[in-house]
Amino acid sequence: MDTRTFFLYAVAGVVLFGIGFHGILFCRNLVRKVLALNLMGAGIFLVFVALSTRAPSGTPDPVPQAMVLTGIVVAVSATALMLALIRRLYRETGFTELPCDLED
């Protein structure tokens, strides 16, 4: 894999990480926060897989790929858990957004 390509995808991964981080800090809707966390994870996976393409032999390194595969399944487990928590929170309190302190 060409060096330019590796850097392009790695930088795209860093940008996704930043977008997700911004969402986690600034989105008040909880489902939106779950989306943001997933975007952050996707950015990290992208950096990781981009790193695996640097092997001089041309065949990508299988170890980061396998770890990303594990990571995707763990991410979907975490997403399911967070969404279950949101549903329970909604059933108990009726909220799906964090309270806004601006109006106080």
Binding site: G18, P62, V63, V76, A80, R88
Partner: protein, 234 residues
Amino acid sequence: MDSSGWAVGSRLGAVLIAVIVGLVGYAVWTFPSEFSGLSDHAIAELQHAGTSNPVTAVLLNYRSYDTLLEMAVLLLAVLAAWALVGGGVNEVCLVSEVSNPVLRGFVRVMTPLSILVSAHLLWLGDHAPGGAFQAGAILASAGVVLFMAGIDWSHKLPAWLERVLLTIGLFAFTGVGIVLMLTGRSFLEYPPATAKWLILMIEVFCGVSIAAALVSVFLGGRLRSRQTVLKKGS
């Protein structure tokens, strides 16, 4: 908090994001552009690994602890969702109670095909892209799509079978490890001669468990749906 406090907080947050993203970006920028990592080792040992797909070899042989613990994580997510939501049928099915006949017909054609593709991917994982996760995910999406078309297929599932399906991957994986320990090897260290069949067996059970777990989290934590809720909703 007053609005000026909020403004200060959000400015601090923006600075934090800029610093962290800048550091990560700098780290990526300074990586060497050629680095073989572990790929030489992974490919050199492939002949003893019992599979010719390097990713499957890493997942189920070199780093099988990762995969074992991942099955445990998936099971924990199901148990947590079961405890929090309580299972049953989820709301998408209620919405699609009035699903149209074209969708149902399409789903009836697609479901056997999905099961076939899933089995094929499981078998293919030995020497080409594929394996337990992909197979399990496709099997699970077949189950989820059936529900979305308004076909409730799991309300007659016995409670014991539900539990067996959810846990069999973890038990089979651990069981193979313990049996290998009894034969004098270390935990999950496959003998090269039978590695291929042990890996395939673990993959079949794990694929079933992954599919069951993914359908369960979709149905609010339980594989068995509650048909009574479905009737009340329509």
